[in-house]
Amino acid sequence: MKQTFAIGIGGAAGQGVATPGDIFAKIFSRRGLHLNAYNAYQSIIRGGHTLLTIRTGTEKITNMGDRIDLLIPLNQDTMDRHLQLLTAGAACIYNADTIKPGPAADGVQLCPLPVSELADITRNKVAQNTLAIGAGLHMMGIGFQAPEEVLREQFKKKGEAVVAENVGVARAGYDYAAANFMAFPNPIPKTDNRYAILSGNVAMAMGGAAAGVKFYCAYPMSPSTGVLHWMAAHARKAGIMVRQVEDEIGVINMTIGAAHAGVRAMCATSGGGFALMSEGLGMSAMIETPVVVINCQRAGPSTGVPTKTEQGDLWQMLGAAFGDYPRVIAAPLDIGDCFKLIPEIFNLADRFQCPGLVLCDLLLSEGRLSVHPKDLDFNQSIDRGELITVNANGNGAQSAAATNGDYKRYKITDSGISPRAVPGVPGHIHTVATDEHMEDGVLISDEFTNPVKRRAMMEKRMRKVAGIEAAVPSPTLSGPPDADVTLIGWGSTKGVIEEACEILNEEGISANQLQIRWLVPLHGEAILDILRDSRHTIIVENNYSGQFARYLRSETSFVPDGHIRKYDGEPFMPHHIVEAVKQQLAGQTKLSVPMHEIMV
């Protein structure tokens, strides 16, 4: 099993859970460790309950794991909720002045800090947090230099007195732990690696910048707002026009307007905002102006649980806009992939002049992961397809060739792709229309309805589907080929299924994994070829009705042996999947819905 160490920090919103989280994350990252952070929180600015889990280790960490090694409850509520999760070897550091521990399991070390004795709590309101950081780091076997350095950076702007006070408080906690608490048996390791720590939202925003996005707009909506925040903060350096718009209908239409002028344009939202964009997507497809739209799923329907994760929007994406039209839909597999996917999907959208849809979710959008800097390479190949602009400008577009006035924007071609001139190019004047139109853009709906022409234009657009299918790789199986069980997932569940497979393999149940990244095109035949040889197939997904299972069946008639589903707002933990697989292989059930044991 992976050697990892996980810290859980919990408290009310506004109690400063994030700061110790950031400090631990920075310290782990500077020790050359991987980490994964997930914050379970509520839609409350002050109060409520939040639990931040940070898991670290020398190997790649793909999910929050099954175990908390160190719990730091910042209030009684957190202690009451989570102490019983701790098992032998774990520890709990808490403020002995204000928090009383309940019954703990055997082998759990309770570490009360006499906060008012160790720090002047009238001066420093978050002294308990800083003391706990110091104490925890000592128990993890980390030298004091690390927190000193990070605290110095954290409080630099507030002046030397504040730095000195916080370093002093941390030191008091560190020394108190040395004298009173037992250190963890395995000190936190160190490597020479260096990783960047980022959320999926930051990764998608940066991926957009790397893809050459020059126009980004949004209406704030959790959990997609982080994309807007990164874009807005870095717009001027990256030369990106970033706008906050009156609603998501405005967002999609502005994005299309900018894309139509010839720039790469992107927007992000969540399920509710995406619903408002549906008609606009149809326009993108009909006028053949490529845009990339990100949907960061949260638990629905309707306002749902705005701060919780779910994979519940697959059918909304599949059914978005009316009529048949070519498009690409992809679900990033992890936070690193959030970056990588955006330039890829822009190249497809530009080549095939259709919408590119990214189906992310809160787990990736707001989770944080260590990513190797080489996986955040801005030097991406850009393919703008058959685009005609005034000057080529090194952007991959063609500059305008002389025409005899016979330019046809929707020229019927074998590939279904017609050269796309942008406004401002002499000799290529045309009107694009959401009404059905002829090759030259003139409407057929109002002037005269012509079934032959309608059919020709429909077939022209839909011919792009074959090209898209050829351009997108089909999914592959990972793990032992001849396994007892094949776990099928899509998008963000990749990491947790991977770890569940590792655990199953260690326990003597051979398991492999088929993870789907491209939802449209799906490559149903290739999937069937893989699954035909599987002994036992189980689809794992974060929704109630088995949206992917239903989609796979509709496209291939494939019915799996079982399902593992979760729709309580929280992500899967590895043991949820492991236990469900064992039950299903033993024939106890075909549908497992694991209970989330952490009450957040």
């Binding site: 020059k214 405005g250 401002g424 190019v425």
Partner: protein
């Protein structure tokens, strides 16, 4: 709109502005007059046709771009202004005309209408206001008068109409005018001014629907419309006076330029990202040192 409009050297003719097809509006529709006035204004302003984009929503009047020989976008019902905003920000060297009807602009597109004005997006928005839904065969519109009987309100409209001029003034439009399709020369002049105004130009045009609106006909408008330009006391820089004039309705209805100010930055003018020229002409790549700093921030 645009301050630095590019001009062609040779004289344009009306034929240069004519689109691939002829309008399919009902004979006598007010929109014919608006189309002719727009084409005339572009001829007189000598703007290269390939640098003009005409953008519309959906409705009778939204078929407009197809009748023009400029770049055109016939978008979604109510969304033309949002599309136009994105297009203008991506290439602010283009001259952007947005056309549509009262249902498109004040009904389904009302949100974008208000926000485009407060943003001072640099474009000319012409609403062919016929106080009725035409393409859907005659229902009440946001500008239909109280009491007007239509297929959707057969016992008479009980909702107060929106006042587009007051609304535009309140929302911060920097050029607010009203024209009448039956006053060609006057309308052409307003369109020219609206195109040359730096910022959001709103032009509400009485464009009678001869098929479905039997209340607000040419005959009804003609004796009522009074040109603000004929009133020597009218000062278009006085917002309060413009607001008062906007409330006049009845025996005397003012047309002409209600208000104009040029001291407010346009949306594209206020954004330093555009200092080096239109985004569409720029390099797609983020400079390597900037890209490196983005990654280093996270380490």
């Amino acid at each position: 709109m645009a301050t630095s409009v590019q001009r062609v050297s040779q004289q344009l003719t009306m034929a240069d502005l004519k689109g691939k097809v002829d309008p399919d509006w009902c004979p006598g529709c007010g929109d014919f007059g608006v189309l002719a006035a727009v084409q005339k204004a572009l001829v007189e302003l000598r703007i290269p046709t390939y640098n003009v984009v005409t953008i519309s929503g959906i409705g009778c009047s939204s078929n407009f771009p197809g009748y023009m020989n400029t770049y055109g976008m016939h978008t979604l019902h109510g969304r033309a202004l949002a599309v136009a905003t994105g297009l203008k920000l991506a290439n602010h060297e283009l001259t952007v005309l947005v056309t549509g009807g009262d249902g498109d602009g004040f009904g389904i597109g009302g949100n974008h209408f208000v926000h485009s004005m407060r943003r001072n997006v640099d474009l000319l928005y012409i609403v062919m206001d016929n106080q009725i839904y035409g393409l859907t065969t005659g229902q009440t519109s946001p500008t239909s008068r109280v009491g007007m009987k239509t297929k959707s309100m057969p016992f008479g409209n009980i909702e107060a109409p929106v006042n587009p001029i007051s609304l535009a003034l309140a929302a911060g439009a920097t050029f607010v005018a009203r024209g009448f399709s039956g006053e060609q020369k006057h309308l052409t002049e307003l369109i020219k001014q609206g195109i040359e105004h730096p910022g959001f130009s709103f032009l509400d045009v009485f464009s009678p629907c001869v098929t479905y609106n039997h209340d607000n006909t040419y005959q009804w408008f003609r004796p009522r419309v009074k040109k603000l330009e004929d009133d020597s006391a009218h000062d278009p820089s006085n917002w309060m006076a413009a607001m008062e004039k906007s409330l006049l309705w009845g025996e005397e209805i003012p047309i002409g330029k209600f208000f104009e100010r040029t001291d407010v930055s346009t949306l594209h003018g206020a954004e330093p990202v555009l200092n080096d020229g239109p985004l569409v002409h720029g390099d797609l790549n983020v400079p390597p040192d900037v890209a490196r700093s983005f990654v280093e921030e996270l380490m």
